[in-house]
């Protein structure tokens, strides 16, 4: 955990560490943004799949640390987020809990509050969205509520920034005085059983930090930790029969064999009582709400999906159209930067390493930042307006047929842009198995970096009118193979019961610019930091492999030949030839020759084999490698006519088809593979992905090669 820096926190200052807990969609992140307006430091805990965020700031003479925990509906371990929150609340060290609740929907929110109340921790309740409640004619009597629950309740609004100071004052006063125990009252039969257990614990003077009542409640709730503690105490032998009886009574009273269900009902009726006392609501005139009106259009049985497709199309248009404008500037900047830096380095090798290796490699990553920012903004908008749940609702039926979850669509669609944000956005999937399955499928959605390869080959083998259709077919084909692969994985590796699809459809809300800015900034910085370091390392490696070992004999031989050459054209041809000969004897060339037999059944020569392997670093590299290998010098792009000619001359149609199939399916680039490994949660998943994609790519490519051979 990050420690506070000195300026923000003199050692004499008093500390309060607050855990911010609430159900999803109650405006928790908004609140943390308003509270820490002058925030000093926002750090992400890395290593956890779903991050909790820590915010530090000063208020009065206290130094606050607020830990923003992922939203959770209840204390179950149903999703990763709930697990993170539950574990943090039970095991970590913190002073008190701020429970954020949505004032417009107290009944649902208090369900979590009741569970927090049995934890014997100090709590402050933030009645958030009080402005919205006012609008809807809901009036909450906060002081009466505080009295009834025995917990300070403060009305706040993260949007209008009302009540923030009062909330912090309440936190300080709870910290300073010993708070009273929350007044959680159960139905009579349950209270009787609690009294029975408390009586027994009192009689035996059982010593514990928590009150006996709290222990009794937790024992009845089958709380594992409480059991573990009391189990080692001699009172256990006599307590056990009492407990068994008590549990039977409670279950009998609720006509259920599930104690958790019984307690949920207890909480619900307690909360209904509280709400009846403290909430006054103007009799609503059964009016159709805004959300209902929007839903009537957006999740319309017929128009819902076309509307969604239109939005996605728009997002991708923006990603590529607007994204490409700064791309040229960035490209130009790195070109200039490389030249400028290169000019200051006298040593050839070092200059080549810095300019061709590091600057070119890192520049290639930064080149995609505009696209990524736009994509992230789009996704943040989808998330924060509440539209994403609607799309998951619309698509669940279709995706379910292929063994996937409705919520898989966002990562899959992002995969057409770049796999890295796609892997990261797979976090929205709650269930581990669904998330892993989606991670394995993302690579089948051809990313933007593969486009140059497709353009090159489509141009080499098809007429210009056909090339566009071929491109489209490649993209759609990849997606279809992906869906089939998902089905196969679901039936084999990720076999298991279908994950239930039960999802809240939150109210539509206008997104907050500040929150989106914050989310996008954090995510973009993460992309830059992580992918940037990996790409830089990969570039250095490829640079090294293609430049070493030095062959002085070869260099001199060509140097003299080039000098002797009569015309410019001849010189160019010679230097291209030199590049080819040089590459052939480099480590990379050796690898290519070595691996040639493996790829021979697919009709690849050693050059294509090498291009595939350099493509493991980044898919764009495939084109430049082919360019170098087919003797055209390094400055090659997909529109270079002579490369297209060289390819159509040197590569047979069947081999080209096989090559494209491999490019479509095989392992994503190094940076993406590393992000994949991180997100999947272990290096073994990388090997699974490697095996999975390689086998499918090889098999399908072999089939495609042979079919193409027969046809031509």
């Amino acid at each position: 955990m990050k420690k506070v820096d000195e300026k923000a926190c003199p050692i004499i200052a008093k500390h309060i560490k607050v855990a911010l807990v609430g159900q999803p969609n109650v405006g928790k992140s908004m609140l943390i943004n308003s509270v820490s307006n002058a925030h000093l430091h926002v750090g992400n805990f890395s290593g956890v799949t779903v991050d909790k965020t820590e915010v530090l700031f000063d208020y009065k003479e206290y130094h606050f640390t607020v830990v923003d925990l992922p939203g959770t509906y209840a204390f179950t371990d149903y999703t990763i987020e709930e697990r993170v929150t539950h574990n943090y609340l039970c095991d970590d060290d913190y002073d008190l809990i701020i429970n954020v609740v949505d004032s417009t929907n107290l009944e649902k929110n208090l369900q979590l509050t009741s569970e927090l109340m049995s934890m014997s921790k100090d709590i402050v309740i933030a009645l958030n969205m009080s402005d919205e409640a006012d609008k809807e004619g809901i009036e909450v009597n906060a002081s009466y509520m505080s009295e009834l629950l025995g917990i300070p309740c403060v009305k706040v609004s993260a949007v209008t920034k009302v009540g923030i100071e009062e909330l912090l004052d309440a936190v300080i006063s709870v910290q300073e005085i010993d708070a009273q125990e929350p007044k959680l009252i159960f139905s009579e039969p349950v209270e009787e059983e609690i009294a029975q257990i408390v009586w027994y614990l009192d009689k035996h003077r059982y010593e514990a930090k928590n009150s006996h009542r709290n222990i009794a409640i937790n024992l009845l709730k089958n709380n594992k930790r409480t059991y573990e503690k009391i189990h080692n105490n001699p009172v256990w032998t006599e307590l056990q029969p009492i407990l068994v009886e008590a549990l039977k009574h409670v279950e009998l009273h609720h006509d259920s064999d599930d104690i958790k269900e019984s307690f949920a009902e207890e909480y619900a009726s307690y909360n209904r009582g509280i709400i009846a006392e403290v909430v006054k609501q103007e009799v609503s005139k059964e009016e159709i709400t805004m959300t209902q009106k929007i839903d009537n259009i957006l999740i319309h049985p017929f128009f819902g999906i076309p509307i969604f497709l239109f939005f996605m199309w728009g997002l991708f248009q923006l990603t590529f159209e607007i994204g490409s404008i700064p791309m040229d500037w960035i490209d130009a900047f790195f070109g200039w930067f490389g030249d400028t830096v290169g000019a200051t380095i006298p040593n050839d090798d070092v200059r080549s390493l810095v300019v061709d290796g590091i600057i070119a490699g890192v520049g290639a990553v930064i080149l995609f930042v505009p696209n990524i920012i736009i994509l992230f903004i789009g996704i943040a908008l989808l998330e924060s307006t509440g539209y994403m749940s609607r799309v998951a609702f619309l698509l669940d039926g279709f995706f379910h047929k292929f063994g996937m979850h409705g919520q898989s669509f966002i990562p899959l669609v992002s995969g057409f842009g770049c796999s890295i944000p796609a892997y990261m956005s797979a976090r929205i999937l709650k269930n581990d198995r669904d998330r892993l399955l989606t991670l394995f499928i993302i690579g089948f959605m051809s990313c933007g970096a593969r486009l140059p390869v497709y353009v090159l080959f489509a141009g080499a083998f098809f007429s210009p009118e056909m090339a566009g259709n071929v491109l489209f077919a490649i993209y759609i084909g990849g997606a279809i193979i992906g869906l089939i692969a998902a089905k196969i994985l679901k039936l084999t590796a990720f076999k298991g019961a279908d994950e239930p699809f039960v999802m809240e459809m939150p109210k539509y809300r206008l997104p907050s610019v500040k929150l989106i800015w914050h989310t996008v900034l954090t995510k973009t910085m993460m992309y830059l930091k992580k992918a940037g370091t990996f790409i830089a390392a990969a570039s250095i490696l490829i640079w090294f492999l293609s430049n070493y070992p030095h062959n002085l004999v070869l260099e001199e031989e060509y140097a003299t030949k080039i000098e002797m050459a009569a015309s410019e054209d001849e010189k160019n041809a010679l230097s291209n030839k030199f590049a080819e000969a040089y590459l052939e004897q480099s480590y990379l060339g050796t690898i290519g020759k070595f691996s040639e037999p493996v790829f021979a059944p697919l009709g690849f020569d050693w050059k294509m084999s090498v291009a595939l392997q350099t493509g493991l670093a980044a898919k764009e590299v495939v084109v430049s490698t082919l360019g170098v290998l087919y003797s055209l010098g390094e400055d090659v792009d997909e529109e270079n006519d002579s490369l297209i000619t060289a390819i159509s001359k040197n590569i047979s149609f069947a081999s080209a088809v096989a090559f494209i199939v491999v490019i479509m399916i095989y392992l994503p680039c190094l940076a993406a593979s590393i992000v994949f490994t991180r997100e999947a949660g272990g290096i073994k998943y990388f090997f699974y992905l490697f095996a999975f994609t390689s086998i499918i790519a090889y098999a399908l490519s072999f089939i495609a090669y042979n079919i193409a051979l027969v046809l031509t």
């Binding site: 509906y73 209840a74 179950t76 149903y78 417009t104 929907n105 009944e107 649902k108 369900q111 979590l112 259920s256 599930d258 958790k260 269900e261 949920a264 009902e265 619900a268 059964e286 959300t291 209902q292 839903d295 999740i299 049985p301 017929f302 819902g304 999906i305 749940s389 998951a392 609702f393 619309l394 669940d396 039926g397 379910h400 409705g406 279908d498 239930p500 699809f501 039960v502 999802m503 809240e504 459809m505 939150p506 109210k507």
Partner: protein, 83 residues
């Protein structure tokens, strides 16, 4: 036993106000039951059906003030009665 899925066609907009369903029992396995309960779907709660996805594989219901999406398969585990 009548479950939510049998009431698929009694959407709120079709039958005005008489379309509220009361939950009698949850027949779901423990995990899912906890999930449903945390969403407020438990014995005695009142459900309204709002919308269906194409092909009726998924439905949108309303419990209290919350809108929830459910697959037909999960809906079949919720025993209800008309009120």
């Amino acid at each position: 036993m009548k479950t939510l899925i049998d009431c698929q066609n009694c959407q709120l907009k079709d039958c005005q106000k008489n379309c509220k369903l009361k939950v009698i029992k949850l027949h779901a396995p423990t995990d899912l039951k906890q999930r449903l309960i945390s969403f407020g779907i438990m014995k005695g709660s009142i459900i309204e059906i709002l919308e269906h996805s194409p092909a009726k594989s998924t439905m949108e219901i309303k419990v209290g003030k919350m809108r929830i999406a459910l697959r037909a398969k999960e809906a079949a585990l919720i025993e209800v009665e008309k009120i």
